[in-house]
Protein backbone atom coordinates (compact mmCIF):
# COMPACT_ATOMS: atom_id res chain seq x y z
CA UNK A 1 0.00 0.00 0.00
CA UNK A 2 1.07 3.53 -0.68
CA UNK A 3 2.19 4.98 2.63
CA UNK A 4 3.00 8.46 3.81
CA UNK A 5 5.61 9.21 1.16
CA UNK A 6 6.61 8.42 -2.40
CA UNK A 7 10.37 8.17 -2.29
CA UNK A 8 11.14 5.76 -5.09
CA UNK A 9 9.99 2.76 -7.05
CA UNK A 10 12.67 0.52 -5.53
CA UNK A 11 10.35 -0.01 -2.55
CA UNK A 12 7.06 0.25 -4.43
CA UNK A 13 5.04 -2.83 -5.29
CA UNK A 14 3.53 -3.57 -8.69
CA UNK A 15 0.10 -3.04 -7.08
CA UNK A 16 1.06 0.45 -5.89
CA UNK A 17 2.22 1.35 -9.37
CA UNK A 18 -0.92 -0.01 -11.01
CA UNK A 19 -3.11 1.83 -8.51
CA UNK A 20 -1.42 5.13 -9.36
CA UNK A 21 -1.69 4.46 -13.10
CA UNK A 22 -5.36 3.47 -12.80
CA UNK A 23 -6.15 6.62 -10.83
CA UNK A 24 -4.27 8.68 -13.41
CA UNK A 25 -6.59 7.40 -16.16
CA UNK A 26 -9.50 9.24 -14.55
CA UNK A 27 -7.35 12.33 -14.02
CA UNK A 28 -6.25 12.43 -17.65
CA UNK A 29 -9.82 12.08 -18.81
CA UNK A 30 -10.71 15.20 -16.86
CA UNK A 31 -7.58 17.05 -18.00
CA UNK A 32 -8.10 16.40 -21.69
CA UNK A 33 -11.63 17.76 -21.40
CA UNK A 34 -10.30 20.85 -19.69
CA UNK A 35 -12.14 19.88 -16.52
CA UNK A 36 -9.45 20.75 -14.05
CA UNK A 37 -10.85 21.72 -10.72
CA UNK A 38 -11.23 18.82 -8.37
CA UNK A 39 -11.85 19.67 -4.72
CA UNK A 40 -9.90 16.87 -3.05
CA UNK A 41 -6.90 18.85 -1.80
CA UNK A 42 -8.78 21.99 -0.89
CA UNK A 43 -7.31 23.64 2.19
CA UNK A 44 -4.06 21.73 1.88
CA UNK A 45 -0.64 22.98 0.92
CA UNK A 46 1.84 21.40 -1.45
CA UNK A 47 5.35 22.83 -1.31
CA UNK A 48 7.97 22.24 -3.94
CA UNK A 49 11.44 22.38 -2.45
CA UNK A 50 13.88 22.36 -5.33
CA UNK A 51 17.62 22.35 -4.82
CA UNK A 52 18.15 21.82 -8.54
CA UNK A 53 16.86 23.42 -11.70
CA UNK A 54 13.62 22.18 -13.18
CA UNK A 55 10.93 23.34 -15.57
CA UNK A 56 8.58 20.48 -16.18
CA UNK A 57 8.68 18.57 -12.94
CA UNK A 58 8.06 21.62 -10.80
CA UNK A 59 5.46 23.09 -13.11
CA UNK A 60 3.79 19.71 -13.43
CA UNK A 61 3.59 19.21 -9.66
CA UNK A 62 2.38 22.73 -9.14
CA UNK A 63 -0.37 22.42 -11.72
CA UNK A 64 -1.34 18.98 -10.45
CA UNK A 65 -1.70 20.40 -6.93
CA UNK A 66 -3.65 23.42 -8.19
CA UNK A 67 -6.03 21.27 -10.25
CA UNK A 68 -6.81 19.37 -7.05
CA UNK A 69 -7.51 22.59 -5.20
CA UNK A 70 -4.35 22.75 -3.06
CA UNK A 71 -2.37 25.87 -2.35
CA UNK A 72 1.18 25.74 -3.64
CA UNK A 73 4.41 27.26 -2.43
CA UNK A 74 7.68 27.15 -4.33
CA UNK A 75 11.05 27.21 -2.70
CA UNK A 76 14.26 27.33 -4.69
CA UNK A 77 17.52 26.69 -2.94
CA UNK A 78 19.19 29.66 -4.55
CA UNK A 79 16.74 32.11 -2.99
CA UNK A 80 16.10 30.43 0.37
CA UNK A 81 17.75 30.07 3.76
CA UNK A 82 19.77 27.20 2.32
CA UNK A 83 22.08 29.96 1.16
CA UNK A 84 22.48 30.99 4.80
CA UNK A 85 23.56 27.50 5.77
CA UNK A 86 20.32 25.93 6.98
CA UNK A 87 20.38 22.14 6.93
CA UNK A 88 17.83 20.08 5.03
CA UNK A 89 16.30 18.72 8.23
CA UNK A 90 15.92 22.20 9.69
CA UNK A 91 14.27 23.37 6.50
CA UNK A 92 11.97 20.35 6.88
CA UNK A 93 11.08 21.31 10.46
CA UNK A 94 10.28 24.82 9.28
CA UNK A 95 8.02 23.59 6.49
CA UNK A 96 6.34 21.17 8.88
CA UNK A 97 5.72 23.88 11.43
CA UNK A 98 3.93 25.83 8.73
CA UNK A 99 1.57 22.89 8.29
CA UNK A 100 2.57 21.79 4.84
CA UNK A 101 0.74 18.67 3.76
CA UNK A 102 3.01 17.52 0.95
CA UNK A 103 6.63 18.43 0.26
CA UNK A 104 8.00 17.68 -3.19
CA UNK A 105 11.75 17.69 -3.02
CA UNK A 106 14.45 17.65 -5.66
CA UNK A 107 17.98 17.43 -4.38
CA UNK A 108 21.41 16.78 -5.91
CA UNK A 109 22.18 14.13 -3.27
CA UNK A 110 20.67 10.66 -3.51
CA UNK A 111 18.66 9.80 -0.38
CA UNK A 112 17.90 13.39 0.59
CA UNK A 113 14.11 12.84 0.28
CA UNK A 114 14.39 9.76 2.54
CA UNK A 115 16.20 11.80 5.16
CA UNK A 116 13.59 14.53 4.97
CA UNK A 117 10.72 12.03 5.09
CA UNK A 118 12.00 10.56 8.36
CA UNK A 119 11.98 13.98 9.97
CA UNK A 120 8.72 15.58 8.87
CA UNK A 121 5.06 14.83 9.35
CA UNK A 122 4.17 16.01 5.85
CA UNK A 123 4.13 13.55 2.96
CA UNK A 124 7.36 13.69 1.02
CA UNK A 125 7.47 13.11 -2.73
CA UNK A 126 10.76 12.53 -4.44
CA UNK A 127 11.01 14.86 -7.40
CA UNK A 128 14.47 13.55 -8.27
CA UNK A 129 17.37 12.89 -5.93
CA UNK A 130 20.85 12.98 -7.38
CA UNK A 131 21.56 9.92 -9.49
CA UNK A 132 19.18 7.75 -7.47
CA UNK A 133 15.51 7.96 -8.42
CA UNK A 134 12.86 10.08 -10.07
CA UNK A 135 9.75 8.02 -9.42
CA UNK A 136 7.08 10.31 -10.86
CA UNK A 137 8.90 10.56 -14.18
CA UNK A 138 9.05 6.78 -14.39
CA UNK A 139 5.37 6.53 -13.46
CA UNK A 140 4.40 8.87 -16.27
CA UNK A 141 6.60 6.85 -18.62
CA UNK A 142 4.71 3.69 -17.59
CA UNK A 143 1.44 5.51 -18.09
CA UNK A 144 2.49 6.54 -21.59
CA UNK A 145 3.57 2.99 -22.44
CA UNK A 146 0.42 1.46 -21.01
CA UNK A 147 -1.75 3.91 -22.92
CA UNK A 148 -0.11 2.80 -26.14
CA UNK A 149 0.33 -0.93 -25.54
CA UNK A 150 -2.37 -1.73 -22.97
CA UNK A 151 0.03 -3.58 -20.72
CA UNK A 152 3.72 -3.43 -19.90
CA UNK A 153 4.16 -7.16 -19.67
CA UNK A 154 6.64 -8.45 -22.25
CA UNK A 155 7.52 -5.03 -23.67
CA UNK A 156 11.10 -4.44 -24.69
CA UNK A 157 12.19 -1.02 -23.48
CA UNK A 158 15.50 0.24 -24.83
CA UNK A 159 17.05 3.02 -22.74
CA UNK A 160 19.91 4.86 -24.43
CA UNK A 161 22.00 7.66 -23.10
CA UNK A 162 23.61 8.73 -19.87
CA UNK A 163 22.47 5.83 -17.70
CA UNK A 164 24.98 6.46 -14.96
CA UNK A 165 23.82 9.93 -14.05
CA UNK A 166 20.19 9.30 -14.81
CA UNK A 167 17.73 8.88 -11.98
CA UNK A 168 15.02 8.39 -14.57
CA UNK A 169 16.77 5.28 -15.88
CA UNK A 170 16.94 3.78 -12.41
CA UNK A 171 13.32 4.45 -11.49
CA UNK A 172 12.26 3.09 -14.86
CA UNK A 173 14.37 -0.01 -14.33
CA UNK A 174 12.96 -0.71 -10.86
CA UNK A 175 9.39 -0.21 -12.00
CA UNK A 176 9.56 -1.90 -15.39
CA UNK A 177 11.11 -5.09 -14.02
CA UNK A 178 8.31 -5.23 -11.44
CA UNK A 179 5.72 -4.82 -14.16
CA UNK A 180 7.18 -7.56 -16.33
CA UNK A 181 8.89 -5.53 -19.06
CA UNK A 182 12.38 -6.19 -20.39
CA UNK A 183 14.86 -3.33 -20.01
CA UNK A 184 17.83 -3.08 -22.35
CA UNK A 185 20.35 -0.33 -21.76
CA UNK A 186 23.01 1.06 -24.00
CA UNK A 187 25.53 3.81 -23.40
CA UNK A 188 29.28 4.41 -23.59
CA UNK A 189 30.96 2.10 -21.08
CA UNK A 190 31.97 5.12 -19.02
CA UNK A 191 28.33 6.11 -18.61
CA UNK A 192 27.07 2.62 -17.68
CA UNK A 193 26.90 2.00 -13.94
CA UNK A 194 28.69 -1.13 -12.85
CA UNK A 195 26.49 -3.97 -11.71
CA UNK A 196 23.33 -2.64 -13.31
CA UNK A 197 22.66 -6.20 -14.59
CA UNK A 198 22.13 -7.29 -11.01
CA UNK A 199 19.20 -4.89 -10.81
CA UNK A 200 17.56 -6.62 -13.75
CA UNK A 201 18.76 -4.65 -16.76
CA UNK A 202 20.22 -6.17 -19.86
CA UNK A 203 23.26 -4.29 -21.14
CA UNK A 204 23.49 -4.22 -24.93
CA UNK A 205 26.83 -4.39 -26.68
CA UNK A 206 25.79 -2.25 -29.62
CA UNK A 207 23.21 0.32 -30.62
CA UNK A 208 21.75 -2.20 -33.05
CA UNK A 209 21.38 -4.87 -30.38
CA UNK A 210 19.67 -2.42 -28.04
CA UNK A 211 17.20 -1.21 -30.65
CA UNK A 212 16.39 -4.56 -32.30
CA UNK A 213 12.65 -5.17 -31.90
CA UNK A 214 12.28 -2.56 -29.14
CA UNK A 215 8.72 -1.42 -28.39
CA UNK A 216 9.87 1.67 -26.55
CA UNK A 217 12.98 3.67 -27.40
CA UNK A 218 13.83 5.99 -24.55
CA UNK A 219 16.60 8.54 -24.80
CA UNK A 220 18.28 10.20 -21.85
CA UNK A 221 20.05 13.51 -21.75
CA UNK A 222 23.81 13.63 -21.38
CA UNK A 223 24.08 15.32 -18.01
CA UNK A 224 27.16 17.43 -18.52
CA UNK A 225 26.53 19.22 -15.22
CA UNK A 226 27.17 16.00 -13.31
CA UNK A 227 30.26 15.00 -15.29
CA UNK A 228 33.64 16.05 -14.21
CA UNK A 229 35.52 15.50 -17.42
CA UNK A 230 36.82 12.71 -19.53
CA UNK A 231 33.84 10.36 -19.85
CA UNK A 232 33.60 10.69 -23.62
CA UNK A 233 35.49 12.75 -26.18
CA UNK A 234 32.84 15.17 -27.44
CA UNK A 235 29.10 15.60 -27.86
CA UNK A 236 29.36 15.27 -31.64
CA UNK A 237 31.24 12.01 -31.29
CA UNK A 238 28.64 10.82 -28.82
CA UNK A 239 25.87 11.73 -31.27
CA UNK A 240 27.59 9.84 -34.06
CA UNK A 241 28.17 6.59 -32.20
CA UNK A 242 25.42 6.56 -29.57
CA UNK A 243 22.70 8.88 -30.88
CA UNK A 244 19.55 7.61 -32.58
CA UNK A 245 18.34 8.81 -35.99
CA UNK A 246 15.46 7.67 -38.18
CA UNK A 247 17.63 5.05 -39.85
CA UNK A 248 18.42 3.40 -36.51
CA UNK A 249 14.81 3.54 -35.49
CA UNK A 250 13.91 1.15 -38.32
CA UNK A 251 15.60 -1.60 -36.32
CA UNK A 252 13.02 -1.19 -33.60
CA UNK A 253 9.51 -2.64 -33.72
CA UNK A 254 7.42 -0.90 -36.38
CA UNK A 255 4.87 0.17 -33.76
CA UNK A 256 7.51 1.48 -31.40
CA UNK A 257 7.21 4.74 -29.53
CA UNK A 258 9.95 7.24 -28.82
CA UNK A 259 10.17 8.69 -25.35
CA UNK A 260 12.41 11.13 -23.55
CA UNK A 261 12.08 12.55 -20.05
CA UNK A 262 13.36 15.91 -21.23
CA UNK A 263 14.99 18.29 -21.50
CA UNK A 264 16.12 17.09 -24.91
CA UNK A 265 19.41 18.07 -26.47
CA UNK A 266 18.40 17.98 -30.11
CA UNK A 267 20.94 16.29 -32.30
CA UNK A 268 22.72 14.56 -29.42
CA UNK A 269 20.69 11.64 -28.05
CA UNK A 270 18.00 11.89 -30.77
CA UNK A 271 18.02 13.72 -34.08
CA UNK A 272 15.28 16.28 -34.64
CA UNK A 273 13.39 13.97 -37.05
CA UNK A 274 13.14 11.35 -34.32
CA UNK A 275 11.98 13.87 -31.73
CA UNK A 276 9.29 15.34 -33.98
CA UNK A 277 8.19 12.07 -35.59
CA UNK A 278 4.64 10.83 -35.34
CA UNK A 279 5.48 8.03 -32.94
CA UNK A 280 7.27 10.41 -30.58
CA UNK A 281 5.42 10.66 -27.27
CA UNK A 282 7.64 13.33 -25.79
CA UNK A 283 4.99 16.05 -25.50
CA UNK A 284 2.30 13.51 -24.58
CA UNK A 285 4.55 12.48 -21.69
CA UNK A 286 4.33 15.99 -20.30
CA UNK A 287 0.52 15.89 -20.19
CA UNK A 288 0.59 12.41 -18.69
CA UNK A 289 2.96 13.77 -16.08
CA UNK A 290 0.32 16.14 -14.76
CA UNK A 291 -2.28 13.34 -14.64
CA UNK A 292 0.08 10.93 -12.87
CA UNK A 293 1.15 13.55 -10.34
CA UNK A 294 -2.48 14.43 -9.66
CA UNK A 295 -3.13 10.74 -9.06
CA UNK A 296 -0.15 10.46 -6.73
CA UNK A 297 -1.04 13.54 -4.67
CA UNK A 298 -4.65 12.32 -4.54
CA UNK A 299 -3.65 8.88 -3.27
CA UNK A 300 -1.10 10.17 -0.77
CA UNK A 301 -3.62 12.48 0.82
CA UNK A 302 -6.36 9.86 0.68
CA UNK A 303 -4.35 7.02 2.17
CA UNK A 304 -2.33 8.80 4.72
CA UNK A 305 -4.73 11.04 6.45
CA UNK A 306 -8.17 9.66 5.82
CA UNK A 307 -9.28 13.25 5.61
CA UNK A 308 -7.10 14.69 8.35
CA UNK A 309 -4.86 17.59 7.59
CA UNK A 310 -1.36 18.11 8.92
CA UNK A 311 -2.40 19.79 12.16
Amino acid sequence: MIGKDMLGLYDATAEDIMLILDTAVGMKKLLTQNLKKLPHLQGRTVTTLFYENSTRTRCSFELAAKYLGAGTVNITASSSSVQKGETLIDTGYTLDAMKNDVIVIRHPMGGAPHLLARNVKASVVNGGDGMNEHPTQALLDFYTMREKFGSLKGLKVAILGDIKHSRVAKSNLFGLTKLGAEVVMYSPATLMPQGIERLGAKVAKSREEALAGANVVMGLRIQLERMHGGLFPSLSEYAKYYGVDEEHLRLADKDCIVMHPGPVNRGVEFTSDVIDAENSKITEQVLNGVAVRMALLFLLVKNRQGGEKNE
Binding site: T23, G26, L30, Q33, H40, G307
Partner: protein, 184 residues
Protein backbone atom coordinates in the same frame (compact mmCIF):
# COMPACT_ATOMS: atom_id res chain seq x y z
CA UNK B 1 -35.30 -9.25 -5.46
CA UNK B 2 -38.90 -8.60 -6.31
CA UNK B 3 -40.15 -6.02 -8.72
CA UNK B 4 -43.60 -4.52 -8.81
CA UNK B 5 -44.35 -2.65 -12.02
CA UNK B 6 -46.39 0.50 -11.43
CA UNK B 7 -46.38 2.12 -14.84
CA UNK B 8 -46.20 0.32 -18.16
CA UNK B 9 -45.21 1.81 -21.52
CA UNK B 10 -48.68 3.23 -22.25
CA UNK B 11 -48.94 4.81 -18.79
CA UNK B 12 -45.51 6.40 -19.18
CA UNK B 13 -46.47 7.76 -22.60
CA UNK B 14 -49.62 9.35 -21.11
CA UNK B 15 -47.63 10.73 -18.23
CA UNK B 16 -45.01 12.31 -20.52
CA UNK B 17 -47.77 13.82 -22.66
CA UNK B 18 -49.34 15.39 -19.58
CA UNK B 19 -45.96 16.66 -18.35
CA UNK B 20 -45.15 18.26 -21.71
CA UNK B 21 -48.48 20.12 -21.66
CA UNK B 22 -47.91 21.18 -18.06
CA UNK B 23 -44.49 22.57 -18.93
CA UNK B 24 -45.92 24.72 -21.73
CA UNK B 25 -48.87 25.75 -19.56
CA UNK B 26 -46.70 26.87 -16.68
CA UNK B 27 -44.30 28.64 -19.06
CA UNK B 28 -47.28 30.33 -20.78
CA UNK B 29 -46.11 29.15 -24.19
CA UNK B 30 -42.82 27.92 -25.51
CA UNK B 31 -40.96 31.26 -25.55
CA UNK B 32 -37.69 31.24 -23.64
CA UNK B 33 -38.12 27.61 -22.75
CA UNK B 34 -35.23 25.19 -22.72
CA UNK B 35 -34.85 21.66 -21.41
CA UNK B 36 -31.82 20.28 -19.61
CA UNK B 37 -31.58 16.66 -18.55
CA UNK B 38 -29.27 15.19 -15.96
CA UNK B 39 -27.13 12.63 -17.74
CA UNK B 40 -28.03 10.10 -18.61
CA UNK B 41 -31.67 9.17 -17.98
CA UNK B 42 -32.70 12.75 -17.37
CA UNK B 43 -31.30 13.65 -20.77
CA UNK B 44 -33.54 11.04 -22.37
CA UNK B 45 -36.55 12.35 -20.47
CA UNK B 46 -35.73 15.88 -21.64
CA UNK B 47 -35.51 14.74 -25.25
CA UNK B 48 -38.83 12.93 -25.02
CA UNK B 49 -40.51 16.01 -23.57
CA UNK B 50 -38.95 18.13 -26.31
CA UNK B 51 -40.30 15.84 -29.01
CA UNK B 52 -43.78 15.94 -27.45
CA UNK B 53 -43.78 19.75 -27.14
CA UNK B 54 -42.68 19.88 -30.76
CA UNK B 55 -45.55 17.64 -31.77
CA UNK B 56 -48.23 19.57 -29.91
CA UNK B 57 -46.99 23.13 -30.26
CA UNK B 58 -44.85 22.99 -33.42
CA UNK B 59 -41.91 24.48 -31.60
CA UNK B 60 -38.89 22.50 -30.49
CA UNK B 61 -37.29 24.09 -27.44
CA UNK B 62 -33.49 23.75 -27.19
CA UNK B 63 -32.53 20.69 -25.24
CA UNK B 64 -29.29 19.36 -23.78
CA UNK B 65 -27.75 17.02 -21.23
CA UNK B 66 -25.62 18.06 -18.28
CA UNK B 67 -23.08 15.98 -16.41
CA UNK B 68 -23.10 16.57 -12.67
CA UNK B 69 -20.02 14.42 -11.87
CA UNK B 70 -17.81 17.40 -11.08
CA UNK B 71 -20.49 18.99 -8.91
CA UNK B 72 -21.28 16.08 -6.62
CA UNK B 73 -21.12 16.89 -2.92
CA UNK B 74 -19.50 13.58 -1.96
CA UNK B 75 -16.28 13.92 -3.99
CA UNK B 76 -14.16 14.75 -0.97
CA UNK B 77 -16.01 12.71 1.66
CA UNK B 78 -15.94 9.68 -0.61
CA UNK B 79 -12.53 10.62 -2.04
CA UNK B 80 -13.05 9.39 -5.56
CA UNK B 81 -12.31 10.71 -9.01
CA UNK B 82 -15.52 11.44 -10.90
CA UNK B 83 -16.04 10.02 -14.36
CA UNK B 84 -17.38 13.27 -15.73
CA UNK B 85 -17.79 15.00 -19.05
CA UNK B 86 -17.48 18.69 -19.65
CA UNK B 87 -20.77 20.56 -20.00
CA UNK B 88 -21.09 22.27 -23.35
CA UNK B 89 -24.44 23.32 -24.75
CA UNK B 90 -25.09 24.53 -28.27
CA UNK B 91 -27.37 27.22 -26.87
CA UNK B 92 -27.16 29.76 -24.05
CA UNK B 93 -29.14 29.42 -20.83
CA UNK B 94 -28.87 33.14 -20.04
CA UNK B 95 -32.32 34.57 -19.36
CA UNK B 96 -34.03 31.29 -20.25
CA UNK B 97 -36.66 29.35 -18.38
CA UNK B 98 -34.83 26.11 -17.80
CA UNK B 99 -36.74 22.92 -17.13
CA UNK B 100 -34.34 20.57 -15.41
CA UNK B 101 -35.34 16.96 -16.07
CA UNK B 102 -34.48 13.78 -14.20
CA UNK B 103 -35.98 10.35 -13.80
CA UNK B 104 -36.23 9.92 -10.03
CA UNK B 105 -36.14 12.52 -7.27
CA UNK B 106 -34.87 11.05 -4.03
CA UNK B 107 -32.43 13.00 -1.83
CA UNK B 108 -32.37 16.08 -4.02
CA UNK B 109 -28.56 16.05 -4.04
CA UNK B 110 -28.25 15.54 -7.79
CA UNK B 111 -30.65 18.40 -8.34
CA UNK B 112 -28.52 20.62 -6.14
CA UNK B 113 -25.44 19.61 -8.13
CA UNK B 114 -27.28 20.18 -11.41
CA UNK B 115 -28.30 23.69 -10.34
CA UNK B 116 -24.64 24.45 -9.65
CA UNK B 117 -23.70 23.02 -13.05
CA UNK B 118 -26.33 25.17 -14.78
CA UNK B 119 -25.12 28.28 -12.97
CA UNK B 120 -21.64 27.64 -14.37
CA UNK B 121 -23.14 27.73 -17.86
CA UNK B 122 -24.96 31.03 -17.43
CA UNK B 123 -27.70 32.80 -15.51
CA UNK B 124 -31.13 31.47 -16.37
CA UNK B 125 -34.22 33.52 -15.57
CA UNK B 126 -35.75 30.53 -13.85
CA UNK B 127 -35.03 26.88 -13.19
CA UNK B 128 -37.91 24.46 -12.84
CA UNK B 129 -37.70 20.79 -11.98
CA UNK B 130 -39.42 17.96 -13.80
CA UNK B 131 -39.17 14.37 -12.56
CA UNK B 132 -40.82 11.17 -13.67
CA UNK B 133 -41.10 9.98 -10.12
CA UNK B 134 -40.75 11.55 -6.68
CA UNK B 135 -39.90 8.72 -4.29
CA UNK B 136 -39.48 10.90 -1.17
CA UNK B 137 -36.53 10.92 1.21
CA UNK B 138 -35.34 14.45 0.51
CA UNK B 139 -32.16 15.68 2.15
CA UNK B 140 -32.10 19.03 0.36
CA UNK B 141 -34.75 21.74 0.17
CA UNK B 142 -35.74 20.82 -3.37
CA UNK B 143 -39.29 20.77 -4.63
CA UNK B 144 -40.27 19.56 -8.10
CA UNK B 145 -42.51 21.71 -10.32
CA UNK B 146 -43.67 18.83 -12.51
CA UNK B 147 -44.06 15.32 -11.13
CA UNK B 148 -44.96 12.26 -13.16
CA UNK B 149 -45.93 10.18 -10.18
CA UNK B 150 -45.46 10.40 -6.43
CA UNK B 151 -44.34 7.05 -5.08
CA UNK B 152 -43.36 7.15 -1.41
CA UNK B 153 -40.76 4.45 -0.79
CA UNK B 154 -38.60 3.17 2.02
CA UNK B 155 -34.81 3.12 1.90
CA UNK B 156 -34.82 -0.61 1.15
CA UNK B 157 -36.82 -0.04 -1.99
CA UNK B 158 -35.71 1.67 -5.10
CA UNK B 159 -37.37 2.84 -8.26
CA UNK B 160 -36.45 0.98 -11.41
CA UNK B 161 -36.99 3.23 -14.40
CA UNK B 162 -36.56 1.49 -17.73
CA UNK B 163 -36.38 3.50 -20.90
CA UNK B 164 -36.49 2.31 -24.51
CA UNK B 165 -33.24 4.12 -25.31
CA UNK B 166 -31.31 2.14 -22.69
CA UNK B 167 -33.21 -1.01 -21.70
CA UNK B 168 -35.34 -1.40 -24.81
CA UNK B 169 -38.66 -0.95 -23.01
CA UNK B 170 -40.51 1.71 -21.04
CA UNK B 171 -41.60 0.83 -17.53
CA UNK B 172 -41.44 2.10 -13.97
CA UNK B 173 -41.51 -0.18 -10.98
CA UNK B 174 -40.49 -0.60 -7.36
CA UNK B 175 -37.76 -3.05 -6.52
CA UNK B 176 -37.35 -4.30 -2.98
CA UNK B 177 -33.85 -5.27 -2.07
CA UNK B 178 -33.68 -8.77 -0.62
CA UNK B 179 -32.76 -9.33 3.04
CA UNK B 180 -29.19 -10.40 2.28
CA UNK B 181 -28.16 -7.20 0.50
CA UNK B 182 -29.60 -5.03 3.25
CA UNK B 183 -26.82 -6.02 5.62
CA UNK B 184 -24.09 -4.83 3.28
Amino acid sequence: MSEHVILDAAAIARMLTRLSHEVVEKNKGTDGLCLLGIRRRGEIVAERIRALIGRFYECFPPCGGIDIGMYRDDLVSGFFVPDARINKLDFSVDGKNVVLCDDVLHTGRSVRAAIEAIMDLGRPAKIMLLVLCDRGGKEMPVCPDFVGKNIPTSRQEFIDVRLCEIEGEDSLGIVTAPETTQKI
